[in-house]
């Protein structure tokens, strides 16, 4: 919403200066976005008088003037034909910046004569295009600031333009008068009265109006107008043109300008029809659908069934409350005009405006809500202005329907206001604030004014009182702790785990990424997503059409971008939500890591090695351990399609999958433009069971004084036998005695097969026995060893390597 200071002062009687007004506007919730003050660029210039003017000795068209200024007499060479003794001029001194010629003045020498400044033309000061001579002022004292003179004599050219942001609840502030009312309530002056003219119609309006019964209850409860005949539609008078120009509107003709003036001045959009072009009565009715309509913006719109339109016998003449039509619009030739003032339902206007994508000043206001009680008053104020500016004679009012009833009242509870705001605002001040804003108080019941559709409850009264009192002045008050003492922890176990996973991965040398929750359909499909349920209906780009089913596609895309930048060794991770469907709650937290390239840069110690599945496994185990997952897990190959079928595994606890690790499928890498190989892992944080014991106390440490015994075993097994089978079998051989089993070597490949037979490999297990109570005898050790050999060979189908 834009307005000028002088327009504001049409409604507000105030002595407050611009800064005070700007401060108050922002504080009141009418946030100032921009101020353009034309006086700023004219600030240095002062008024002076030419006392003598002589012909320049060397130039026919130049005069050497002696000029009386606030700094004494100065000599100035001037080429203007009207430069002569006795005239009052505007002086620009050396050092001043002259906006119209984009020059900072110096002391010049013109054809050998020194010149100390210049006397400006209108164009040189950007006041108008006038450049036939220098400005001659009809009044003014030498030394007076030119801006002060302008403020009195030509206020329009130094009128500051103020642009404020209007929140959706304040349609009343979409008119200058509403803004003035807020400022008056704040105490920055008084709202000027606005008497409504009494217009006596001289004849029945030749244009009659009729609201279709289908719209009477909601879409258009009230429609009114007057015909004014015998008008002359020419250019607007200066004052009106200036009002509009000051806020960036182009004056068109006085009839059109008057409608704009009311739109911005009083939040009362109007429309003018050329009576000569209206055929029959105006009917406000829902469109049948398919009607074509040439609007004032020069575009043709096709109406959909049910859209509200104003039609005459010839067809649609106006898109009600949104935009008038080209055909029945006013022109210089207009002599009889029908002035429309109506109340349109905000929701209906918003729906049609959105559907047709028309943004107009009228739509903007009607969909937020204009004052339904001001329809006739606004009509008459505008009719009077037409009569004053265009002449003519007004008809009786033609109308259908009636203003909607906005009567409602809410209790003002001053104590509750104080309790909610936390500021001591006296009850009397509260009541006065509401009255200043136009509320009617009856006892403690406050009736909102008809122009405040947003006030719908007691809480709205509190807001009005608070914002007029000024929230800037509000003093903070400590919020006492809910309970005395040291605050309890507040994070949930899952929240703690999210953090733990994140910090663990960073500690393992991974860089955390935060990537978008949406990805492209192809990538989503590659990772088991891409279903319609996860599709965004109105994506912002084709790269962001689906909610991500997994974190890896986002990390792989980030990796591809980094590879393109020349970074080959990457360790990236993300902890965040992934989506299994399109219903609230179809999401869970994943932690995923991605290793590409080498685990280390080149160095003299041979550390460089391509990251492989067991690097990923080490890191996923570290994360699981940090999350408190049990050490004994099962590893299966029930792999999703994006993993390498032979080089990846699923970590599970019974049927509960908690993580996957291994190589990413080479086809996925190729499709995503990643140079591989790449290994990765994903942890489903919520699937890791929470500890059953909820105590900080750790179990007692059982230390044995007896020496542990280590025994190593090597087995020949089929190459496809998994190590974990052997390890678990060994552990099971004697659960009391065997403390741990670790695979410490394997022998595979051609040489191994040459030794042990085709399709065979050898694995070596280290078994640690911890005696309990007494030292083991050789016989006991032999017995356990035999048991280990028996269980392992049975479980693996292998044999002890001889």
């Amino acid at each position: 919403m834009k307005f000028s200071l002088s327009w504001l002062k049409d409604h507000l009687d105030t002595t407050a200066d611009l800064d005070a007004i700007l401060y108050a506007l922002t504080d009141l919730g009418l946030e100032v976005e921009e101020v353009v003050n034309p006086a700023a660029k004219l600030a240095p210039f002062t008024i002076a008088r030419i006392t003598h003017a002589e012909q320049h000795p060397d130039a026919d068209k130049l005069r050497v003037c002696r000029v009386e200024t606030d700094e004494g007499e100065k000599q100035i060479v001037c080429g203007a034909p009207n430069a002569r003794a006795g005239i009052t001029v505007v002086l620009c001194k050396p050092g001043d910046y002259v906006p119209g010629i984009d020059v900072t003045l110096g002391i010049g020498k013109i054809r050998g004569v020194e010149s100390h400044g210049m006397m400006a033309s209108e164009r040189e000061l950007e006041l108008s295009d006038e450049h036939n001579g220098i400005i001659e002022l009809s009044s003014g004292e030498v030394g007076q600031k030119f801006t002060d003179w302008l403020a009195v004599n030509r206020p329009a050219v130094v009128d500051p333009m103020i642009h404020i942001k209007i929140t959706p609840n304040r349609p009343d502030a979409l008119g200058v008068r509403g803004i003035a009312r807020d400022l008056a309530a704040r105490g920055l002056g008084t709202l000027k009265p606005m008497p409504i003219p009494q217009i006596k119609g001289g004849f029945a309006s030749p244009v009659q109006v009729q609201i279709d019964p289908a719209l009477r209850a909601k879409g258009c409860p009230h429609f009114a107008g007057r015909t004014i005949r015998g008008v002359k539609n020419a250019a607007s008078p200066d004052w009106l043109a200036q009002r509009l120009k000051a806020i960036g509107l182009r004056p068109i003709s006085v009839l059109v300008d008057i409608t704009n003036y009311f739109t911005f001045g009083l939040n009362r959009p109007l429309h003018v029809f050329d009576v000569a072009k209206v055929q029959g009565a105006l009917r406000i009715a829902p469109a049948k659908g398919g009607e074509e309509f040439l609007a004032l913006d020069g575009k043709t719109y096709t109406l959909r069934a049910g859209m509200m339109a104003i039609s005459d016998d010839a067809g649609v003449e106006s898109l009600a409350g949104i935009m008038g039509g080209e055909v029945s619009g006013c022109s210089d030739a207009t002599t009889d005009v029908f002035l429309e003032s109506a109340y349109w339902d905000p929701i209906t206007i918003a729906t049609t405006g959105r559907a047709l994508k028309i943004n107009s000043d009228a739509r903007y206001r009607f969909e937020r809500g204009v004052d339904p009680a001001f329809t006739l008053d606004g009509l008459d104020l505008a009719a009077q202005m037409i009569l004053d500016l265009c002449g003519g004679e007004a008809s009786d009012i033609a109308q259908d329907g009636a203003p909607i009833d906005t009567a409602r009242a809410y209790r003002l509870d001053p104590a509750r206001v104080i309790s909610l705001v936390g500021m001591d605002i006296p009850a009397e001040t509260q009541r006065k604030t509401l009255q200043d804003l136009g509320f009617t108080l009856n006892g403690d019941m406050a009736t909102p004014p008809s122009w405040r559709p947003d006030v719908l409850g007691e809480a709205d009264l509190v807001e009005e009182v608070a914002r007029i009192a000024s929230l800037t002045k509000l003093q903070g008050k400590p919020l006492p702790r809910a309970a005395a003492g040291v605050p309890k922890p507040i994070l949930t176990p899952l929240q703690i785990r999210e953090r733990t996973a994140r910090r663990t991965l960073a500690a393992l040398g991974y860089n955390e990424c935060v990537t978008y929750s949406f990805i492209d359909e192809a990538a989503a499909a590659m990772f088991g997503g891409g279903a319609d349920a996860t599709r965004v209906d109105n994506p912002i780009s084709s790269e962001m059409t689906h909610l991500r089913p997994d974190l890896l596609p986002g990390l792989l895309r980030a990796a591809a971008r980094n590879q393109a930048r020349g970074f080959a060794d990457l360790a990236l991770f993300e902890v965040g939500p992934v989506f299994t469907g399109g219903e609230p709650g179809d999401q869970h937290i994943q932690a995923s890591g991605l290793l590409i390239g080498s685990i280390a840069p080149r160095d003299p110690y041979g550390s460089r090695r391509i990251a492989d599945t067991f690097d990923a496994k080490a890191d996923v185990e570290a994360v699981l351990a940090a999350l408190g997952a049990p050490a004994r897990v099962q590893i299966s190959r029930k792999l999703a399609q994006w993993w390498h079928p032979g080089r990846a595994g699923v970590i599970g606890l019974g049927p509960n999958q908690i993580a996957t690790f291994g190589e990413v499928h080479p086809r996925i890498l190729a499709d995503m433009g990643v140079k591989g190989p790449a290994v990765a892992f994903t942890v489903l944080i919520a699937n890791v069971p929470l500890p059953k014991v909820k105590t900080a106390t750790k179990p007692a440490l059982a230390l044995s004084d007896l020496q542990a015994v280590e025994r190593d075993f090597a087995f020949v097994v089929d190459a496809g036998v998994e190590a974990l089978v052997a390890v678990n079998a060994a552990i099971g051989a004697d659960k009391d005695l065997i403390e741990s089993v670790r695979l410490f070597d394997q022998f595979t490949g051609e040489r191994a097969e040459a030794q042990m037979g085709a399709g065979k490999k050898s694995i070596a297990l280290g078994v640690r026995l911890q005696p309990q109570g007494k030292t083991l005898t050789d016989a006991e050790i032999e017995a356990v060893s035999a048991k280990v050999i028996e269980t392992v060979t049975k479980a693996t189908g292998g044999s002890l390597r001889s």
Binding site: P168, Q495, F579
Partner: protein, 359 residues
């Protein structure tokens, strides 16, 4: 018995030994089973008691003396050998260390933990909610009915609806405010929570991304006022930005779910492109806030005649940019390794109030 010749002989030999083997030979020649001194000791038995006593004493002294000399020489040889070895064991210690990957934490995660630390101290728990929301939680329950202009201004992403499914489409939550409703519905009042998380708006240009992070705050009690809100936010900003002098400006505004509503600006200066909080004459909007609208309380099953309180919402990415001088929002979600390393935080930089958030 005169032992001086023997003494001189073996002490001389010990001193002359050039390595441990030579020294061992000396020891054997003198003190070994067949050594000269051992032989003399053995001969003592054949002597008269008087003579034996005198000779024995002399031999004992001699034996101890030679033994000490041998030990001293052995230690000296050991030291010399170690010195020689150490001289050969020189390394170029300016060579690079064995490589170790250094990981980083994303600024968004770091700032979320900072926020949590501050608000936890003021008794706020952390609440969560789904990012795909029903339009009821995202709008209606927050007093934004379907045709409210504010609803259009949210630039909402809508989820797909199958033909025949006539429910209104779900949305990607446009703010964290629906978590207010979920938290109150679940836990009732009184309540104090913050809800950090991702939110989505259809907006992408130089300074906007379609996904950002927001933190919601909610405090409901019997007598919680807007003045308490101001204090909480002042305390938060002072703690978060780690400057003692923080100045906030509360400006009346409008949100459908709070009444009264205020936008909050923070005082700052911009010196050579560097933002400084708490000084200067510029104001930057950092959050929206207000007293929770009675309709919102009612929608969440809290009696608005009994309870009242405040809510606020602020941008986490923006807070991170302000505090840590990060210029470009879009880079947050790009995963550029150079950016992650530069703006990221060490794994053990865990924000807490005892040690200072960014210390």
């Amino acid at each position: 018995m005169d032992t001086s010749a023997l003494r001189a002989k073996f002490l001389g030999a010990a001193a002359a030994a050039s390595d441990e083997a030579a020294l061992e030979e000396v020891r054997l020649a003198a003190l070994g089973k067949k050594g000269e001194i051992s032989a003399l000791m053995a001969s003592l038995g054949k002597m008269e008691p008087e003579e034996r006593k005198a000779a024995g004493a002399l031999l004992n002294i001699l034996r101890d003396e030679i033994d000490s000399a041998l030990r001293a020489k052995k230690a000296a040889l050991g030291d010399a050998a170690l010195d020689a070895r150490l001289k050969s064991e020189w390394l170029d210690v300016t060579m690079p260390a064995r490589p170790r990957r250094i990981g980083t934490i994303h600024p968004v995660s770091q700032v979320m933990e900072e926020l949590t630390a501050i608000f936890a101290d003021m008794g706020f728990a952390v609440a969560e909610g789904p990012q795909v929301e029903t339009d009821w939680y995202n709008f209606d329950a927050l007093n934004i009915p379907p045709e409210h202009p504010a609803r259009q201004e949210h630039d909402t992403f809508f989820m797909h609806r199958d033909a025949g499914d006539d429910r209104p489409p779900h949305v990607l939550r446009t703010h964290t405010s629906p978590v207010q409703i979920r938290a109150m519905t679940e836990k009732g009042a009184p309540i104090r929570v913050i809800a950090p998380g991702r939110v989505y708006r259809m907006d992408m240009d130089q300074t906007h991304t379609p996904m950002v992070h927001q933190v919601e705050g909610l405090a409901i009690g019997k007598d919680i006022s807007m003045a308490n809100l101001k204090w909480v936010l002042e305390e938060f900003c002072r703690a978060f930005f780690e400057v003692d002098k923080v100045e906030l400006r509360f400006r009346a505004s409008h949100f459908p779910f709070t009444e009264p509503s205020a936008e909050v600006d923070i005082r700052y200066s911009n010196v050579g492109g560097q933002l400084r909080i708490g000084e200067g004459d510029k104001w930057m909007e950092i959050l929206g806030s207000g007293m929770v609208h009675p309709k919102v309380l009612a929608a969440a099953g809290v009696d608005p005649t009994e309870y009242q309180g405040f809510a606020f919402g602020m941008g986490i990415d923006r807070l991170a940019m302000l505090k840590y001088g990060i210029p470009d929002l879009r880079a947050f979600f790009d995963g550029d390794l150079r950016w992650l390393r530069h703006y990221g935080f060490a794994a053990l930089d865990m924000p807490d109030l005892a040690g200072g958030l960014s210390a």
